[in-house]
Subunit: 265 residues, 2 copies
């Protein structure tokens, strides 16, 4: 059992044996469904979850070496940032609430709820959910800033959050919004399982990995790099090659095994 | 505009321009969400829809020649059957209700609602939905038969429907259930976008295609073959090679283009 799997304790009431071959995948699915019950995950979030499952299946449900390198570069970039913000949407909140709070703590980043389909109810539900999992401050509800180049509701951010950030982590982000954030001069770290989608292609640091594995691994790298100098951190960032990472992920998907597992049918 | 796309008229109230590059995909998504509103599509159905979207994206959102051959063989097999039944679940009902009724008419098959997560409410909602789209008889609500080898709720069928059928069409079916149907001696036609999942690997005729494209195309082939003799139909079935079709679909997914489209992010 890996550490990531140990982190994935199902909520009480589920009966998924830990030795089930698809334990992590089933726990993930359980969390996302619980997110629907809690008003956190949208219908579009469930469909996006399915797309992620398919790409993760083709990737072999593992963190590629190129993704691990991206996660280390992301940690270094976050430690170098003057003002880092982690954008949290419904699926991120449902899937990795504690893990996201831990990452924010490890790199001294803000947490900001930011939704593609913004409703007051979901904003509040997600902020509450993050607080229940240890967050002390959650931005996003002010909505007094704007990312240029997007229709109003899509571009709304907090002026002192994503609006003022130099580095943003946008897991599972829409392509238009990822492009607008990059155009606004933010250094973007995107987590996405499809290496072909625009969001990771727009990012300075694209992480092609499941958020369930990626977020704790960025945190682990940040803790490992905590004592490093700025020049050491800069070197980790500079040595990372985004195009190479995207190409490696594409290759892994193309070469991945179709193992006949019915759960992804 | 292809004939399949013409069939895909969005419901009133949607505003998807027909020349949108992802028109079919957006209409599909709209139909599946409307299915949730109608009590037809489950949460698991939304996740399954997302998995399908990812595989279809990698396939290039097209019917491969090998899938067209499978669809022709399926039409011939259905015309040869003594008693064919088309199994309808929530996603099939939401995505292709008229198209499924048209196929049943073209090959003189029964329609049977059959759900992985069977609830009386969803059974009735789906049967009603099929009737609203032209079905005259819908089986599945009797539930007086059973497929051996499955826990009770998973194996429930109509004794005079799937229970008595020699040929069954199971679009988007779970692997355990597909295996149990094959073990019960049914000739299975499976529609599934993942060539690696157990359901198509279990099928006599696996169709690796989107149900949106597959169902109308099986109907078109059935109409084309309507005057064929039994021996001609038998030849169409015999010439189809299931392993070749699965291999061709895998190859297409591996070779497919990652075109940077953000909609599947």
């Amino acid at each position: 059992m890996t550490e990531t799997e140990t982190d994935l304790e199902p909520d009480p009431g589920t009966e998924i044996p830990e030795d089930h071959p698809r334990y992590a995948s089933l726990v993930t699915r359980h969390r996302i469904e619980a997110g629907v019950d809690a008003g956190i995950t949208s219908r579009q979030g469930l469909i996006a979850q399915g797309r992620g499952e398919a790409f993760d299946y083709l990737l072999g449900e593992r963190t590629l070496p190129s993704a691990d390198a991206a996660e280390r570069a992301a940690a270094a970039q976050l430690l170098l940032a003057d003002h880092a913000v982690i954008s949290v949407n419904g699926n991120v909140a449902a899937l990795v609430p504690e893990e996201t709070v831990a990452l924010a703590d490890a790199v001294d980043a803000d947490l900001e709820v930011n939704l593609f389909n913004r409703t007051a109810e979901r904003m509040v539900a997600i902020a509450d959910h993050l607080r229940e999992h240890g967050a002390t401050e959650v931005k996003g509800l002010a909505g007094d800033g704007e990312i240029p180049g997007l229709e109003h509701a899509r571009g709304t951010v907090d002026a002192d959050g994503i609006g003022a950030a130099d580095t943003v982590v946008v897991p599972l982000e829409d392509g238009d919004r990822a492009e607008a954030l990059a155009a606004a001069g933010k250094t973007e770290i995107v987590i996405d399982l499809n290496p072909g989608s625009r969001s990771p292609r727009t990012a300075a640091i694209p992480i092609i990995d499941n958020v369930i594995r990626a977020v704790p691994n960025v945190t682990a790298h940040a803790r490992d790099l905590a004592g490093a100098s700025s020049s050491e951190l800069r070197r980790v960032v500079d040595e990372f090659d985004a195009d190479e990472a995207l190409t490696a992920a594409e290759a892994a998907i193309r070469e991945g095994s179709f193992d006949g597992d019915g759960d992804v049918a």
